[in-house]
């Protein structure tokens, strides 16, 4: 299911994730093949419980597959140690979660710099990078606010800034607009469009058609299987882009 002629930055082959045993066996992900090229945005859509989030966890090494392979930059990551996976998450893959997952006791700035500090950057470098990202995302004035004092959209932007802190190869976003109201959703849609345009590789799990419309390719998922692939030339185009208010 790949259209990329060049070497994919993220690749999955025969990926499977099973829960339970015997009659209670559930295949959350059932034989998924997927290639994501550098700079590409891929959207995965499907109903709740179809295995989208599980697939995203497998792609980023947060969970181990029952079978199959996952490679990042041509390097297998499904069979490496937890420690190696953790190091990979510091620099190569980062996540944006539906419910933001910000540390409540840390300010916006401290949340963003945490990823850089965990990656071993000096406090000064981490702080500078966080300031830069918050400034780019229009949150410079909110840097010292705690998450509880930010709106949903602002919290998600902080989470995105954190994900970009270590300049990862791939950003994996799990329902990034799932907890947002309409205005905040448009805000985040614009943010992902900007990321796409800047060449950031993105895999977005969503059941929001508007955000899927910003992708280069869109997959539909049912019962753990990718059942359909749609090529969206050049990302957000035509009537859909106008519909969601991203294009004139």
């Amino acid at each position: 299911m790949s259209n990329a002629a060049d070497t994919p930055v993220l690749s999955a082959r025969g990926l499977r994730k099973e829960h339970g045993k015997g009659e209670g066996l559930v295949r959350a992900v059932d034989g998924v093949d997927l290639d994501v090229s550098a700079g590409e945005t891929v959207a995965i859509m499907g109903p709740s419980g179809c295995g989208k989030s599980t697939l995203l966890h497998l792609l980023g090494g947060l969970d181990r597959p029952s079978a199959g392979e996952v490679s990042l930059n041509s390097r297998r990551i499904d069979n490496i140690s937890e420690k190696a996976l953790a190091r990979m998450r510091r620099t190569d893959v980062s996540y944006v979660f539906q419910s933001f997952h910000l540390m409540e006791e840390l300010s916006a700035m401290e949340n963003v710099e945490l990823a850089a500090l965990l990656a071993g950057r000096s406090p000064r470098v981490a702080r500078r990078r966080a300031e830069e990202l918050l400034d780019q995302l229009g949150l410079a004035g909110r840097a010292r606010f705690l998450p509880s004092a930010l709106s949903g959209g602002q919290r998600q932007r902080v989470a995105v800034a954190r994900a970009l802190s270590n300049e990862p190869l791939v950003v994996l976003a799990d329902e990034p607009t799932g907890n947002l109201d309409s205005d905040a959703t448009l805000d985040v849609l614009q943010l992902f469009k900007d990321l796409h345009e800047s060449g950031q590789t993105l895999v977005i799990v969503t059941h929001d058609a508007r955000i899927a419309a910003t992708a280069d390719r869109k997959f539909s998922m049912r019962d753990g299987v990718l059942v359909d692939e749609t090529l969206l030339t050049g990302g957000t185009t035509g009537q859909l882009g106008a519909l969601v208010g991203l294009e004139d």
Partner: protein
């Protein structure tokens, strides 16, 4: 009535649902109630052998003595005083020195009739009663000298054959004997630089000869004192009899009641009791710390249940009552079990003195003991649970139903400081900063434990020197060592439970933060080390505070309560204190490593 039943039913259901936590709660309160019961019943348990001895030897209710023959008439008047039903004596008593097994000891030599006395007829445990040329020794004194029937001893330059070893209730066993000679006596250790007045007896033993032998040993009649044993119609009013007849120590006729002899005979039990009561209060503090952490964790777990109770019409009062009832039920069970265990094991911690008949029996629990132990158990539960229970009951129903976690505390300076540290320390400091109250409980718990250990080290060293000083015999030292052992085992067990419980509560509370840190690139090992370090840092602080000022203050408090002299004790050397702190930190690290390891490896996706 219906509401009470509902509260109890809900409380019981929840306890059954969380059996491990309920068991830990029970264990924490049980440790405190058992120790407190031991302390309270020890005196009664220790008194049992004296009562047996009193019954077996027709023990006197009052022992009166005079220092010169001229006062014999006064002593005679006592025999016919109102309230006296029987008497024996007056018997002549001589201060002397006894040589046996190459040792010389001070003795009070009492001249007795070979026939059976109506009051205070010592019970012979070996051999026979006195006869001319034969001496009977008080049993503990004989044990101490390692002298038995058939051996020879020298008294006043004359050789006597040991014909018997006997026990009496007219005097506390050696080395706590009361003084019935005019020369005066002193018991206990004497500083090397202090000279005793000439003739004063030091730790005198008691021996019996026939009156004829005592008179023949006396250089002249003026060297003799006299003792008389009285039986009263109302033994419980012995002190009133002494007051009425102008006696008691320092009075015209020195008199001693059976109650004061009992008190002296159970002196050791009093020391044990003080140690156990102090231990009980320390364990009570530890139990409050345990409970606070456990209750905090359970309340966090029960948020949704509280929301449901309120959603179906439970008032804040009913919710608080249900939450409190759980802990009060556990406290009542712990009090009952503590009372039973304490009463049954108390006799194991009392001296089975050779100087008394029979061993210490099972002390019957008094109502005051039952009341105090129950009150302490309930008090510990109430102190630890009221605030979280009321807070939970007053929380918003909507947020409770949403199972919203209590927001963590932000400590800005610690977050800034931690940014400069390696990843495990960075995470550890932030874990610590999230729940400062729990950190305080951890510090207090370790400080209390280390203070207790400090005192144990001092007392252990002190007891090690005792057999040589004469304040305690080897058997008594063994008894006190048993008491200290019980202290140590219970204290360390509860401290270990605390360390594990606090770590597990931290693991649970930080499961989201730990999972997020791992999603951002922290390794499981770094998270494990962080969770363990978050316990070790407070443990280090607690251990240092436990030595100073904790240990010093506790030891000073014990000295004030017991009237002890801290100069007699050897305080631990600096290297011992450093070793104690380091050992504490290592033990905490070891205890917390397993829960921290489990917490560091929880599946990230399941948590997030």
């Amino acid at each position: 009535m219906g509401r009470i039943l509902l509260v109890i039913r809900l409380a019981l259901r929840d306890l059954r649902r969380r059996r491990t936590e309920a068991a830990l709660l029970l264990l924490a309160i049980l440790a405190a109630t058992t120790t407190l019961t031991l302390g309270l019943v020890l005196r009664d348990a220790a008194g049992a052998p004296y009562q047996s001895t009193r019954a077996a030897t027709r023990g006197p209710d009052v022992v009166a003595n005079v220092g010169r023959a001229a006062d014999l008439a006064e002593l005679g008047k006592l025999a016919t005083a109102s309230g006296v039903t029987e008497h024996s004596g007056p018997y002549p008593v001589l201060a002397g020195k006894l040589e046996a097994s190459g040792r010389t000891s001070d003795v009070q030599v009492e001249g007795r009739d070979a026939t059976i006395a109506a009051v205070d007829q010592p019970q012979v445990r070996q051999g026979s009663w006195v006869s001319d040329g034969g001496v009977a020794l008080e049993a503990t004194f004989a044990d101490s000298l390692e002298v038995g029937v058939g051996d020879s001893v020298t008294l006043g330059g004359r050789s006597f054959k040991v014909v018997g070893v006997a026990v009496t209730a007219a005097m506390p066993p050696y080395p706590g004997a009361s003084c019935i000679v005019a020369a005066g006596c002193i018991n206990g250790a004497i500083p090397d630089d202090r000279n005793l007045p000439a003739g004063l007896l030091h730790n005198p033993g008691l021996v019996w000869l026939t009156q004829a032998d005592v008179l023949s040993l006396a250089s002249d009649r003026s060297s003799l004192s006299y003792v008389m044993n009285l039986k009263l119609a109302a033994p419980d009013e012995a002190q009133a009899f002494v007051d009425r007849n102008g006696g008691d120590h320092g009075g015209a006729i020195p008199m001693q009641t059976w109650e004061s002899i009992l008190a002296d005979a159970t002196d050791l039990a009093r020391d044990s009791q003080i140690l156990l009561l102090i231990g009980a209060w320390l364990l009570g503090l530890l139990a409050v710390a345990s409970l606070s952490v456990l209750v905090g964790g359970r309340m966090a777990d029960q948020t949704k249940r509280i929301g449901l109770l309120k959603a179906v019409g439970g008032t804040p009062g009913l919710v608080a009552a249900v939450l409190l009832a759980e802990y009060l039920l556990v406290a009542v069970v712990a009090a009952a079990a503590g009372l039973m265990i304490g009463a049954l094991t108390a006799p194991l911690l009392t001296e089975s003195s050779a100087g008394l008949v029979g061993g210490a029996g099972t002390a019957s629990l008094t109502w005051s003991t039952i009341g105090l132990v129950t009150a302490v158990a309930l008090g510990v539960a109430v102190v630890a649970t009221t605030v979280p229970a009321v807070r939970a009951a007053q929380s918003s129903t909507v947020s409770a139903l949403a199972d919203a976690a209590r927001p963590p505390r932000r400590t800005g300076w610690l977050i800034t400081l931690s940014a400069r540290l390696p990843v495990p320390l960075l995470l550890a400091l932030r874990v610590t900063a999230r729940r400062p109250r729990r950190v305080v409980l951890g510090v207090v718990s370790i400080a209390v434990t280390v203070s207790g250990i400090y005192v144990l080290v001092v007392l252990n060293a002190f007891l090690g020197d005792q057999p040589g000083t004469g304040a305690y015999t080897e058997a008594q030292v063994a008894v006190l060592r048993h008491v200290l052992l019980v202290w140590t085992v219970i204290l360390l067990s509860l401290a270990a439970v605390n360390a594990i419980v606090i770590t597990w509560a931290t693991v649970l509370d930080n499961r989201h933060a730990s999972a997020l840190a791992r999603a951002l690139g922290a390794t499981p090992q770094e998270v494990t080390v962080a969770l363990a370090t978050a316990q070790v840092l407070p443990a280090l602080l607690g251990a240092v505070m436990g030595v100073f000022p904790g240990g010093f203050l506790l030891f000073a408090a014990i000295n004030v309560i017991t009237g002890g002299d801290s100069d007699k004790a050897t305080l631990p050397a600096p290297w011992q204190l450093i070793a104690l702190v380091m050992a504490t930190v290592l033990v905490v690290a070891a205890l917390t490593s397993v829960p921290a390891h489990l917490g560091g490896r929880r599946p990230v996706t399941a948590t997030l």
